[in-house]
Subunit: 439 residues, 2 copies
Amino acid sequence: MENTPARPPSARLDSYVDRYAARTAGMTASEIRALFAVASRPEVVSLAGGMPNISGLPLDVVGGAIADLVATQGPVAMQYGSGQGVPELREQITDVMRLEGIEAHPDDVVVTVGSQQAVDLVTRVFCDPGDVVICEAPSYVGALGVFKSYQCDVVHAEMDADGLVPEALRQAIAAVKAAGKTIKFLYTIPNFHNPAGVTLAAERRIEILDICRTEGVLVLEDNPYGLLGFDREPMRALRADEAENVIYLGSFSKTFAPGFRVGWALAPHPVREKLVLAQESATLCPPQFSQMAVSAYLAKHDWQGQIKQFREMYRERRDAMVSSLADLMPAACQWNVPSGGFYVWLTLPPGIDAKGMLPRAVTARVAYVPGTAFYADGFGSSHMRLSFCYPTPERIREGVRRLAGVLEAEMELRATFGPVVPARQVNPQGYDGPSTDLS
Amino acid sequence: MENTPARPPSARLDSYVDRYAARTAGMTASEIRALFAVASRPEVVSLAGGMPNISGLPLDVVGGAIADLVATQGPVAMQYGSGQGVPELREQITDVMRLEGIEAHPDDVVVTVGSQQAVDLVTRVFCDPGDVVICEAPSYVGALGVFKSYQCDVVHAEMDADGLVPEALRQAIAAVKAAGKTIKFLYTIPNFHNPAGVTLAAERRIEILDICRTEGVLVLEDNPYGLLGFDREPMRALRADEAENVIYLGSFSKTFAPGFRVGWALAPHPVREKLVLAQESATLCPPQFSQMAVSAYLAKHDWQGQIKQFREMYRERRDAMVSSLADLMPAACQWNVPSGGFYVWLTLPPGIDAKGMLPRAVTARVAYVPGTAFYADGFGSSHMRLSFCYPTPERIREGVRRLAGVLEAEMELRATFGPVVPARQVNPQGYDGPSTDLS
């Protein structure tokens, strides 16, 4: 050891480790994050990410609207704005929400940096460490990350093909209350669920609103996909039937484009005031330029016609995925057929672990998100989320073909050696040598 | 009372009041926020807000760069991006920081939604409730708001004409440690301080870095104005002489335009990783479109020449303000002559309360920010911040004239009736009838 040159200080060690806030224990890299690096390699068919396919957007229209914005309102668009967001955009947002039966006043809308920030700000306003958030099982990985970073306890309530099961919600609430803990809200994605692909049935919506009102549990309705149904008109939002006990979150990321990061929260008036204060503390104001760009797009383009095009394109991809799954996957797999949105939720045959299989899948040039990412409690190992939003139908079919091959090999391995093959670390390079992290 | 119709529920009362997180107690409307409404009325000369004057930006260049961005890279600019920010922009950010002597790698830069969000994310990563942040006295109101919202204790350390006083910092650290509390960082604005207008002397920079290193106190260097000096080249950043114990925050809000909300943090590697996780939780990623718009502007425009124009324009306004103050203000007032940035810090004659006087000033159509906004401890009543960034030199002179008139009347009142005139509530309408909040 004496002849080994000294390692430069803090090249490996985190010398700040004793100084971080306790909440950082809950801020860990998600499985989706590690996969972004993988998904970006062109030879991999990524069924992992949730990136919308925006190639159908008319660049000339968008470019023209924004050039016009700079020329005619540049000094306003490039200036600081209000913490609540641009008034004209908030007015347009109420038009968008009207498509789901919501009658709202622009004063009760707060613009956010994507609806991700809306989840963050609502949690900031409501949750102390140890407070409980009830989430569907499974639930959106990005929201679970927020709840963990605010040191909340997540309690899952089961879903079935019709979405969140009211009786499961009742039981979850009762169990949390019996344990003497405080429930701050139910976080729910009623339409084309991420990751489960299911939609909350109309009659359940009323029942769930009733349960939450009776039990004094606020509802956080996250609805990025509601306008992306394949077969029918948008369903009535929970917020359409209950103004006082629901905070509704919307987004332009899937109906227009995510790069502007424009989402919103619609909240009861006193909550809205708190959200604006939280927004001012977080960013002073959401990006004025982004907001006015989205507003110009909405004003100058047939945005509803564009959403219709998106719906048709995503339906074609959904069809490609479910027909490929039916044609290619082993019989013991199960999946749902989503009626909108971006995702299929797949259940593996008994004994197959989605997380353990991922390195083999990546080696075979296909990626997905293991089900465990969508649970706060370690459940989900026999599930995976498959996204059909971004790859073309041909690539989807090729990706499913590769995945089926990996799965068949996995099943054969299990049949030969039994289910106790140790899960290996995810290795995006597909290289199975010594990890540099251990050297 | 029996004949009074019942008030609709929750029209006045906040029925959610028992459900908010404890941190919301620290999230209150700042004095600056209440003033935004006032400042936007055209007849008021606002010396209150910190809005940069961006009327000198070449709209054709900006519009052309952005139109080109949409046409050539639209699908990337409108898509999700990395949580850390656009690589090319992070490279350009290192060029900007090199002007202040900083040699940094783009990997250690995290793009944020304005540098306000950088303050938020750093605090999120480091501060538990009850942790201490040491701030200059006075300090930036927006940062104090963040520290309060994370339930930190702010301890102020005195400044003089050369910025933060090293001995005051030593004493503050010793006092906090003696009280058994944990200091997480020193928050400092070394250049053209907001609100104090002073700049930290070069020899003090080394001394303050030494103190903080010795005492194990991280330095959070907030530097939105560093390139906006009137008389000389930019000073060396604290970060230029200390990489391991300094987190540096920068912003394009004052050197280009705030409406894109693009700021950044430069942090030691392990801290950078935590900040990226925090950013992903907060927003998934900062706005890709904004970042690429700023990047295109930097690539296609003589941005350093533009900053030189900004400096000359702000120097002219600084000159207008200090000469107006010298010509018009009562002799008992004191102020500094800032060598850059946006702000003059004014000390009122004994017995005059800046907050109490504000409604009279607004009635006289001039606005400022009372000094109390910049202290966490209630101090500052005999001070005010005057901004010279936004109004024209003529309007600045008119504003100072109005302010001098208000102050003279106030002094006369004090001379006649003594100092115990009750401070009235701020009333943006200038209307002195019953407040609707009390009705």
